[in-house]
């Protein structure tokens, strides 16, 4: 009996059908350690192994792109998928749909891996952090409208600063959709633009509950925000990726609210202290000025202004004397020079030279005269200047500064004391320009303090 001879394809197709028709193998969970991991294209190739066996696996790009962590050799995982046969290589393998690190570890793993990656990308750099405003006019809050966080935040804000504007950008804060909604809520506030600071957070919960705040999409939204963000997720002990990326981290939503606004009473107190300081200063300052003024008024130089005038007169005389002696000396010098020049001229014999010298002499002479005239003009100017200064010191110029002189009228006697006059007397007050005639209606004996 001739045995039936199958082609390779027939055998392989048979095996393929056997495996792929087995329902048990079409949705299977397999636990093992990753090895031979490679990703030559965007599909992932690896094996799962335990002590005794090895199973080839492939994860296509459309499934792999949803992974929240990166596969690596040695990692203990659970993979779900279906067994199939790749005929060209006669190879059966697991077509992976989903894969998780063993146990809850994958949450930590995803957290650590994303933290490392974002750290490398510079998401946590201090120079990227925006400063929180000192006194925000409007505060954005990204959280659930039904959660405990919003209640806590509103309570604290109300206590610290009762008249604040708050804009809630609502989102779910746990579950599959939460991360996307949180990111969108942050972007909405950025698009709206009129808030000065954003609080992003939620109350405490399990690691899974807080996990949306560990997702890349949220990290990106926080990193890209142009408005400073304070992250407040869970309790003191909970640390999330959001906390690292945010401009500031608060341990709880209440703490974030406290960090965001100063206490109104404190600010009012500070302002009050400034007001007091300013008033106190200006009072003291004016008092000291008044004292200085009083001292000046009683000083001798004001009482006898002519002392100063006398000194100036003497100085002027001295100047005049020095000037004329200087002038005499100078002209003597010039004369001597002229004599010696004339002498030299007489000594030089050739006619031409004599003529030349004669011309030179003429020029010298003219220059000499010019110099003399110029120097005399300057001296005259100087004397005029001195005269002008003298004039400015005359009593008339004092009138120009607003003082006035009072005479009795029509006698024209200078009035220096109020006792010289009585009620009804006529007086003439000489001003800088013109005079005023008036009649005394009241006499005050004592000087009144200004």
């Amino acid at each position: 009996m001739q045995p039936h001879i199958y082609t390779v394809n027939e055998v392989t197709t048979y095996i393929k059908n056997c495996l792929e028709e087995d329902e048990k193998l079409q949705d299977v969970w397999v636990k093992g350690e990753i090895s031979n991991f490679k990703s030559p294209s965007r599909h992932l190739y690896f094996s799962l192994k335990d002590e005794e066996s090895l199973l080839s696996c492939i994860m296509f790009q459309d499934k792999a792109s949803g992974l929240k962590f990166t596969l690596e050799n040695g990692l203990e995982v659970i993979a779900r998928g279906n067994i199939g046969v790749y005929k060209p290589q006669g190879k059966y393998q697991l077509y992976v749909e989903e894969i998780f690190p063993v146990g809850r570890g994958y949450l930590y793993l995803a957290f650590e891996q994303l933290k490392k990656e974002l750290g490398k990308k510079g998401y946590f750099r201090p120079e990227h952090k925006l400063p929180l405003p000192f006194l925000p006019q409007r505060i954005g809050v990204v959280t659930s409208p039904d959660g405990a966080a919003i209640r806590d935040i509103l309570t604290v804000l109300d206590r610290r600063f009762p008249n604040l504007e708050i804009i809630l950008s609502p989102c779910r804060v746990q579950g599959e959709e939460a991360a996307g909604e949180i990111a969108q809520a942050i972007r909405n506030l950025n698009e709206y633009g009129k808030v000065d600071v954003i609080i992003v957070g939620r109350g405490g919960g399990s690691l899974e509950d807080l996990f949306p705040f560990n997702e890349r999409i949220v990290a990106d939204a926080i990193y890209e925000s142009r408005i400073p963000i304070i992250s407040a997720v869970g309790h003191e002990i909970d640390v999330t990726i959001s906390d690292f990326v945010a401009d500031e981290r608060a341990p709880t939503p209440s703490a974030a609210a406290e960090r965001v606004v100063p206490k109104k009473e404190d600010l009012i107190e500070i302002l009050e202290s400034y007001r007091k300081k300013l008033s106190h200063f200006i009072t003291a300052y004016l008092h000291s000025l008044r004292l200085t003024l009083k001292n000046i008024r009683s000083s001798s130089s004001l009482k006898q202004p002519y002392f100063k005038l006398r000194d100036l007169k003497q100085e002027l005389d001295e100047l005049r004397r020095r000037m004329s002696s200087c002038l005499i000396h100078r002209s003597q010098l010039e004369k001597n020079k002229l004599f010696s020049l004339a002498h030299a001229l007489r000594q030089s014999s050739p006619k031409k030279r004599i003529d030349l010298k004669g011309e030179e002499l003429g020029r010298e002479k003219k220059r000499l005269v010019d110099v003399m005239v110029e120097s005399l003009r300057k001296k005259k100017e100087k004397i005029l200047f001195c005269k002008e200064r003298m004039r400015s010191l005359s009593p008339l110029s004092i009138l120009k500064r607003g003082y006035s002189i009072c005479f009795s009228y029509p006698e024209g006697k200078l009035i220096k004391r109020s006792e010289q006059l009585k009620k009804g007397d006529r007086i003439k007050v000489k001003l800088y320009k013109g005079s005023v005639y008036s009649r005394v209606y009241q006499i005050q004996e004592e000087e009144v303090e200004v």
């Binding site: 006194l135 708050i166 950008s169 909405n188 698009e191």
Partner: protein, 75 residues
């Protein structure tokens, strides 16, 4: 001007008044400016009005809704 800028200016003015020997006119001017800044800051503190609103996206435009009204609607 922002509140904190005004506060900084105020601090500078008080320091100048206390530290330097200013002529009368300048001192009076600074005093006046300082007092103005104090009332500006006080006004700024009272300026905002307590209001809680909810930012939502409807047909791709952002809208503000009153938070309390929304709560009442739900009830």
């Amino acid at each position: 001007m922002k509140f904190e800028e005004a506060m900084e200016k105020l601090q500078k003015i008080t320091q100048e008044l206390e530290g330097e020997d200013l002529p009368l006119e300048e001192a009076l001017q600074k005093f006046e400016e300082g007092m103005k800044l104090v009332s500006f800051c006080e006004r700024k503190l009272e300026e905002a009005e307590k209001k809680i609103q909810v930012l939502i996206r409807e047909e791709n435009t952002l809208k503000l809704k009153d938070w309390k009204e929304e709560k009442e609607d739900e009830c």
